[in-house]
Amino acid sequence: MTGPSIQLDSVSYSYGSNLVIRDVSLSYDGGQFVGVLGPNGAGKSTLLRLLDRLLIPQKGQIRLNGRPIQEYGLKELARTTALIPQEPEYFPFLVKEIVMMGRTPFVGRFRREQPRDWELVKEAMEQTQVDHLAERPIHQISGGERQRVMLARALVQNTSILLLDEPTNHLDIQHQVSIGRLLQQKGKENILAIAVLHDLHLASLYCDQVILMHEGSVFRQGSPDKVLTGSTLHEVYGVALNVMRHPVNGRPMVFP
């Protein structure tokens, strides 16, 4: 099988009369970490929901790995993309039970989990550094730990495309860094990770590509170097911003 890819051809979506995605065309091919940036209400979360078929576009075509998204069966889709939405609800399942739920698309309704499933769960928990929390109830761990548990849950789904809605929101800086690095690493392992991010620095440091959205359209896309410039950001965010270089790696850093 070829590498993961997503393709949007002039996709539009509106909630009622409110057009939230306007004629967006995008194409990403192969493993990489793509950040979706833009002010509130730019359509970032809607874009992710379209990519997981939670929403169906009124116009245009979305393809995942070359195939139109509407042709996927529900389970098949679950084996192709994994979504981590922003959801504050947590019931007192154990961490390992939550991660195991990621195996749902592969496990029959009444089939017991196999040793192979538990191995994958363990691997994913190690990768996201939550293996020591395996036996803890999810509501008793910190927000940063929870987010990493959700990431582990998405990883055991073993999909070639990962969709994340603000995975670093409300996290301490060390967790932001570890999630940024992990997604960068996943990009190198031929996984296409697409994350809505608020933090421009994080996007600049870890993303291979960024999409800057504005009022439902793609304003600019490309490497963080090209997109994160003072004049572009000024137009999108409406305030003057200074872009300087990171002292160590030269990536663009944004300051008011």
């Binding site: 997981d52 529900l74 609800e89 399942f93 749902t104």
Partner: protein, 342 residues
């Protein structure tokens, strides 16, 4: 390993159920001591019959076999059915405050059953089939209304849904009261129906309700895993390949079936579906694969005990069992409400 751990509470509850059931059979205005209860029951088994000497009065046997046994079994089935319905609705709404009584499904069933009792059965329709069917239609209609009112932009809003349920429940209960006051001569019957009672229930009622309850209970295992995943949220469940809307519809139908079967023979017994699943969840956690069987057993035990209390506390006067469950359940609901908002 985990499976063995899960088996222990099941065995424990089955033992407790047998003890409670036997205890309930011994209690009442005519004294039937536990050993006699055991021997009368064993003598009903075909192979054991010649071995057991009959040293009891005919009255004792009749009271046990024709009055107490069907009532205890019926109380067990209804308690189990309401508890499983509660588990299903709570999982569906991801809210521990939901149960068939509070979200109006029981009232819908009550209206359907009342229409059958007042208009259809006296006209000679087969009560055996018509009664639960009418209750089911009523339950489904109210469940569907509540579901539609509680859904905003394609997502269930739990608070909205609870409030819609409360409103619909009061309207439907008012209609039931109105119909009954118009058509039923005996106001006490109306009262027993509205509060929920097992007074005077016999084998006929047991055979009417229990197939649906047992069937619904077994079918609920089909939803257990998907209900677990739904607890992670609708979007996550979708992303894991669960057809959320279909699951929600199946759960509504199944929960309505269970509640309707219970209501069709007992009237509206409240709070069992609220308290029992919640108590079980506190002990074993939120996994529906454990919650469903354990709640069924606990619900059965609870309602057998409550009904025994209802018929013995003020003997020879019988209280509606709904008074006992409401006395226990109302404060419990308030406790949950306080806990979830602070």
């Amino acid at each position: 390993m985990k499976r063995q751990l899960a088996a222990h509470p099941v065995i424990f509850l089955i033992c407790l159920l047998v003890v409670t059931g036997t205890g309930a059979l011994t209690m009442g205005s005519v004294d039937v001591p536990p050993p006699v209860v055991g021997r009368i029951l064993l003598r009903q088994l075909p192979l054991l019959e010649p071995w057991i000497q009959s040293d009891w009065t005919a009255a004792q046997a009749t009271i046990l076999l024709q009055i107490r046994l069907p009532r205890v079994l019926l109380a067990g089935a209804i308690g189990g059915g309401l508890a499983v319905a509660g588990v299903i609705f709570q999982g569906l709404l991801r809210n521990p405050l939901a149960d068939p009584y509070i979200i109006g499904v029981s009232s819908g069933a009550s209206l359907g059953a009342a229409i059958a009792l007042i208009f259809l059965i006296p006209m000679g329709y087969m009560g055996f089939f018509v009664l639960p069917a009418c209750a089911f239609v009523g339950a489904l209609m109210s469940a569907y209304m509540v579901y539609r009112l509680g859904r905003i932009h394609g997502h269930i809003q739990p608070l909205q849904l609870l409030l819609a349920g409360v409103a619909i429940a009061s309207v439907l209960t008012a209609i039931v009261s109105f119909l009954m006051v118009l058509r039923v001569q005996n106001l006490q019957d109306v009262y027993l129906w509205l509060m929920g009672s097992l007074s005077g229930r016999s084998w006929r009622h047991f055979y009417t309700a229990s197939p649906y309850i047992l069937g619904g209970f077994v079918a609920s295992f089909w939803l257990a895993r998907d209900l677990n995943i739904l607890l992670l949220g609708e979007e996550t469940a979708h992303s894991l390949g669960v057809d959320v809307q279909r699951l929600q519809k199946k759960a509504l139908v199944l929960g309505s079936l269970l509640a309707a079967a219970a209501v069709s023979v007992s009237g509206v017994i409240g709070f069992v579906g609220l308290m029992v699943p919640h108590g079980v969840r506190l002990v074993v956690g939120p996994d529906h694969r454990k919650l469903l069987p354990l709640s069924f057993l606990s619900g059965a035990i609870f309602l057998i005990a409550a009904d025994t209390a209802a018929r013995t506390i003020l003997s020879p006067v019988e209280l509606p069992v709904g008074i006992i469950t409401a006395l226990a359940g109302g404060p419990f609901f308030l406790y949950l409400l306080r806990r979830s908002t602070t």
